[in-house]
């Protein structure tokens, strides 16, 4: 912890009349010189622009940031330790609470890791449904970012526009799995519910109207002088530094580095559909805004192609010991009842070994390292969360900017503290 700077003028004991002695005379020697000491300013953890409970101590020289020290951990819940005592399906609910605005992709990243450990391949329809839902989550996550970032910077209207579309998506998710934020929709071996014709129709209607909405957001911002002045040239990081600081997602691609896990190591249905990875040039917040807006377009493109190609079949594998048997069978079939009972009591027992599985979450590379000793809960589970790694570059990216820019720099990573502190 950094100490507060000691004042140059010492306040000494008061005399008998209660008057303070040694009050510096502005006309006397050193005190007359303008004081140029550094100022320490605490920001957060309750500041509205920190999107949660991030606390940063700023070393300031006037308005300029000399050093920014993030203090994390205000939302630390010990997810990794808790996971060591839970069965593999129970951990899915813990992952919902990491990046709570994009819970679907957290579920996805986790179940992919477990499936890699188990060597399980999910049915084609499940792959497509997973891709559709993950991309819808990316759209809703980026809309959340766009709305709040613009709100923090001073363009309030965008917030209402993006949350309007986000609400449609959240209602779709609610129809799909019954929850608005903490979905636990992805299960090991597939997904819990299939897309109904009603949801597909609603989705197609959404996709039809959506391109115009993206243009709408852009018209609100692209000629907004405040938005341009506060994002262009702010929080710049070069491509080499971005790689060295292990940045991922739009934050890395804003600097022009072409690394997207969906392209580099294609999973789900990403290899079957056409889409592009947008890249930035300047590595500033404006480029990241541009990339996120373009990613929304690409996600919509992926979703509509997946809907066209959506294969028939089950949305989950049916393997005793990995998935729960269907509820209607459990009620009539003894075997299924036993499997259900064993799954609920014992859970999945993957083979001994360790894997690292990376997934492209809206914020960047979300990796799960699972070390299994052959038991029904992980021996060690490590979550590589993009928000945590991104804040490692915070000091580097904040130096030299003004205090007013700090709000932009917080927002530029799309940081969510639930994921950062775990």
């Amino acid at each position: 912890m950094t100490d507060a700077p000691t004042p140059t003028t010492k306040r000494s004991s008061t005399d008998e009349f209660g008057v303070i002695e040694h009050v510096p005379d502005p006309n006397d020697g050193d005190a007359a010189v303008l004081r140029t000491e550094e100022l320490l300013l605490n920001m957060g953890p309750q500041h509205p622009s920190t999107h949660g409970v991030l606390r940063v101590v700023l070393d300031l020289e006037g308005e300029r940031i000399l050093k920014a020290t993030p203090h994390l951990g205000y939302l630390h819940r010990g997810t990794e330790k808790l996971a060591e005592g839970k069965t593999y399906q129970q951990i899915v609910t813990l992952t919902d609470r990491l990046d709570y605005v994009c819970a679907m992709t957290n579920n996805f990243a986790y179940v992919r890791a477990v499936e890699k450990l188990l060597g399980v391949k999910v049915p084609p329809r499940a792959e497509y449904v997973r891709t559709i839902v993950a991309e819808l989550q990316r759209i809703s996550g980026h809309l959340f970012w766009l709305g709040t970032q613009a709100l923090d910077i001073g363009a309030m209207t965008v917030f209402f526009y993006t949350f309007r579309e986000r609400e449609i998506l959240i209602e779709l998710f609610e129809k799909l799995c019954g929850a608005r934020l903490t979905y636990s929709y992805y299960t090991v071996g597939g997904v819990s519910d299939d897309l109904t014709p009603e949801i597909i129709a609603a989705l197609r209607a959404f996709l039809k109207a959506f391109p115009d909405k993206i243009i709408e957001y852009n018209t609100l911002l692209e000629t907004n002088r405040i938005w341009l002045a506060r994002t262009k040239g702010v929080a710049v990081i070069s491509a080499e530094d971005a790689v060295s600081y292990s940045l991922t997602g739009p934050t890395l691609r804003g600097s022009g580095v072409n690394y997207d896990v969906r392209k580099a190591e294609p999973y789900a249905a990403y290899a079957d559909v056409e889409w592009e990875v947008p890249l930035g040039k300047n590595g500033d917040t404006y480029d990241r805004y541009y990339i996120r807006l373009e990613e929304i377009r690409q996600s919509a493109r992926i979703v509509s192609q997946c809907l066209d190609k959506l294969p028939d079949g089950p949305v989950s594998i049916d393997v005793p010991g990995i998935t729960f048997p269907a509820k209607d069978r459990v009620m009539v079939d003894m075997e299924s009842l036993i499997h259900h009972f064993k799954m609920a009591c014992e859970g999945i027992r993957p083979p001994k070994g360790e894997i690292y599985c990376a997934t492209e979450a809206p914020k960047g590379e979300l990796g799960f390292y699972i070390n299994s000793d052959g038991g029904n809960h992980p021996y060690r589970l490590k979550i590589r969360s993009p928000s945590f790694v991104h804040l490692g570059a915070f000091d580097h990216m904040a130096r030299g900017y003004l205090i007013a820019d700090i709000v932009t720099i917080f927002g530029t990573y799309d940081v969510v503290m639930g994921e950062c502190d775990r």
Binding site: M1, L72, G73, H76, G78, E80, K81, L82, E84, G85, K116, L117, G119, D241, V243, S244, Y245, S246, L247, V257, N258, Y259, A264, E265, G353, E354, I355, Y356, A358, E365, G367, Y369, N371, Y379, R380, K382, R384, F388, V389, L391, G392, A393, H396, D421, R422
Partner: protein, 167 residues
């Protein structure tokens, strides 16, 4: 055998203690005093070009001779391949050289390992607790740290309340 596994072994015959391939992933065990050399070579050699550090994590094996294991997950953005480096650290000499000089991003990742597992990173520029408070006692991800039950938080002094029980 994986082509890079062979070449890594040839390049560092004295540092590499084991190579394993499982689940389609390559794991190379390295002696802990050579970790920075190996990392730097893997990053700089164009044949490997591991320019990206995905993650640093740790595992606790209480019964093993060398209790802790530090895992480095490396990735090459140009070559699209991954490798996991492993180094074992004993409880008596619970320290390992920091790789912050190779990848700047290792700073926070190593601080997290230090915070939760208690492994000290030598030559780390700013080794402090990161997720837990500075006065936290113990390293929660060690296997001998309980998940449940009374612990450090029960040592807090309660703030004086008004008289009588709080309804």
């Amino acid at each position: 055998m994986h082509p890079s596994a062979q070449s890594i072994r040839e390049r560092f015959p004295d540092a590499v203690t084991g190579v394993k391939e499982a689940f389609g992933e390559l794991t190379v065990s390295v002696r802990k005093d050579r970790i920075v050399d190996v990392c730097r070579a893997l990053r700089d050699d164009p044949a490997w070009a591991f320019n990206f550090l995905s993650d640093v994590s740790s595992v606790d094996y209480p019964d093993a001779e060398e209790r802790f294991e530090v895992n480095y997950h490396l990735y090459s953005i140009d070559k699209c391949h991954r490798v996991r480096l492993k180094a074992r650290v004993s409880e008596d000499d619970c320290r390992i050289e920091s790789v912050t000089s190779v990848w700047a991003g290792a700073n926070f990742m190593e601080r997290e390992v230090y915070d939760l597992m208690g492994i000290e990173f030598v030559n780390h520029p700013d080794l402090r607790r990161i997720l837990l408070t500075d006065d936290f006692d113990g390293f929660p991800l060690r296997k001998d740290y309980p998940t449940e039950g009374r612990g450090w938080r029960n040592t807090f002094e309660f703030l004086p309340t008004t008289e009588g029980p709080v309804s």
